[in-house]
């Protein structure tokens, strides 16, 4: 699935131009707005919060190095997202060679501290399976899921940012959720 260039505001475009000219403060201001989104893309794909943090840090350095070459300031968000996803793909390939279970995401699974070890393990397993299912989705749907579930954006807000219709957002998210549900169901059975 391909995405159209997003509709960045004039203020954001100005920041992108300043960042492309080497202004660190402008770059920091831009990525501060996107940190949740970047992290969500990485953690959704990798299912490992520590690795996701590393990936976003690597992606930030890569983005800072290459922002001078960004021709279309409106495409900043998509461009940044693609850098994170590429970094996550590389990190994910490296992760396959490591011992499984290290750094698994368990934060928030038993925030109250009342669940037994079995319940916590089952919830961890479910989260791992979900991350694997998310990473199997195409890039565009991963971006939509991150915007909707991590940033809490409505269909209309996502449509506005990506420059596509609200119906398209609704349809693509629906397909993404159906795929995830089917995949989770298949793994459970």
């Amino acid at each position: 699935m391909t995405m159209d260039p997003p509709r960045a505001g004039p203020a954001e475009e100005k920041l992108v131009r300043r960042a492309a000219g080497g202004d660190r403060e402008a770059f920091s201001a831009l990525v501060r707005r996107e940190e949740r989104y970047m992290y969500a893309l990485a953690v959704g794909r990798l299912g490992d919060e520590h690795l996701a943090r590393d990936v976003v840090q690597d992606a930030l350095l890569a983005a800072w190095k290459s922002i001078a070459g960004l021709r279309e300031p409106r495409a900043f968000r998509n461009w940044l997202g693609r850098i994170v996803i590429n970094a996550a793909i590389s990190a994910g390939q490296g992760q396959k060679n490591r011992v499984e279970g290290h750094g698994a995401i368990d934060e928030g699974i038993d925030a109250a501290g009342t669940a037994g070890p079995g319940e916590v393990a089952a919830a961890q397993e479910r989260r791992r399976r979900l991350a694997a299912a998310v990473s199997a989705l195409d890039e565009g749907r991963q971006i939509l899921l991150a915007m909707h579930y991590s940033e809490g954006l409505s269909y209309a807000e996502i449509a506005g940012r990506l420059g596509i219709s609200e119906g398209a957002v609704r349809g693509r998210l629906f397909q993404a959720r159906e795929k995830l549900r089917a995949e989770m169901e298949r793994k459970r059975s």
């Binding site: 770059f27 520590h50 943090r53 490591r98 995401i105 989260r127 579930y149």
Partner: protein, 361 residues
């Protein structure tokens, strides 16, 4: 409201959508749809949990703080500069052509060898508009104005723009630049070139190759009388990795951040030997290295956390933040037992260490 319509609405609704009263009414009376609704809500909640796990606002501030502003010329100015550089290149082209084919250097210039020590990791010299940092035990000669021959070892060049072409000769060809920063490393079978900023052109008898920022290339060595292979792009090269020999106190802020990030990657992922080397490089960074290890001890892969607590065991006796970090890791019941045990051992090592300069009574 029937089951089919209810399912359509359930599938279409997001985690924060309020279901219409007719759907809620149907759910009250239909166990199958209630189960299905619970499935959808569970998926929504799992997705929210997945994306929120481990996220803290401002968690990348330290990375952002490590970046350094690098003013770049305005586009219009850049266009003018490019045009001027093109004219300069045309004018300089004939001269370079003669010089690369053994032509005599301009009169009045006396070639000289760069003074490169064996004991320090690297030497630094200003050579006619270019700053040249050469690795210990290298050999380099300034053969003509704005022309350096690297005969052995490795060197990093930072060439000021606007002063014409700067040529670096290596046994395997030439590297021509207008304004950029790059490293050359003369190896046993080829010369490696990695570009930090700008563009460079590699040339040998078989062809040319232009490298852009972040790219690496190789000039293969001639074998006997055979024409060498044409210059080729090297995949997976990194400037940080290629220039690890440069001393920490000669790096600027961005380079320091880049090196720490590189070491972080090595300590997180690589096998034992590279990690061992990375620990030594981190030790060179002094207080910066300790501060990095303190932040890594609480964030990163388990391998990185383990390496960080191991490294913090080298901290001086009076280093409160290192001891505090080790205490926190040792007391963290959510941390892996192996890492906690290593934190305890490191803490013990730091506390046993005598403060430097202390005297016995």
């Amino acid at each position: 409201m029937n089951c089919r319509r209810t399912e359509e609405i359930l599938r279409d609704s997001g985690p924060r959508d309020v279901l219409p009263p007719a759907v809620r009414q149907h759910l009250d009376s239909c166990p199958a749809c209630t189960r299905r609704a619970a499935e959808y809500r569970r998926l929504d909640s799992d997705l929210e949990g997945l994306y929120a796990a481990g996220f803290r606002p401002g968690m990348f501030e330290s990375t952002l703080a490590g970046l350094e502003s690098r003013p770049r010329p305005h586009r219009r100015f850049l266009r003018r500069l490019t045009a001027a550089a093109a004219v300069l290149l045309l004018l300089a082209g004939a001269g370079i052509w003669v010089a690369t084919r053994g032509g005599p250097p301009p009169t009045g210039f006396k070639p000289y060898e760069l003074a490169i020590g064996d004991s320090a990791p690297a030497s630094f010299e200003d050579v006619e508009g270019a700053q040249v940092c050469t690795r210990a035990k290298s050999r380099a000669v300034v053969s003509a104005p704005r022309r350096v021959k690297v005969l052995e070892g490795a060197a990093l060049f930072e060439v000021e723009p606007g002063r014409g072409c700067f040529v670096v000769e290596v046994p395997d060809g030439t590297v021509c630049v207008v304004g950029t920063e790059f490293s050359v490393s003369v190896g046993a079978t080829s010369t490696r070139v990695v570009v930090r900023h700008g563009r460079v052109r590699l040339e040998n008898a078989a062809g040319r190759l232009v490298l852009n920022s972040g790219q690496g290339g190789e000039l293969p060595r001639r074998s006997g009388d055979r024409v060498p292979a044409a210059p080729a792009v090297l995949q997976g090269t990194s400037v940080a990795e290629e220039t690890l020999w440069r001393p920490w106190n000669w790096l600027d802020r961005a380079e320091r951040a880049e090196r720490l990030n590189h070491l972080r990657g090595v300590l997180s992922r690589e096998p034992y030997q590279p990690r061992l080397a990375a620990r030594e490089l981190l030790a060179e960074a002094g207080e910066d290295g300790l501060q990095a290890a303190i932040s890594w001890a609480r964030a990163g892969t388990p391998r990185l956390r383990l390496e960080a607590v191991l490294f913090l065991g080298r901290a001086p006796a009076g280093h409160g933040p290192a001891k505090g970090s080790l205490r926190a890791v040792a007391a963290d019941r959510r941390e892996q037992p192996g890492i906690r045990a290593m934190a305890e051992r490191s803490l013990e090592a730091v506390e046993k260490r005598k403060p430097s300069g202390s005297r016995r009574k």
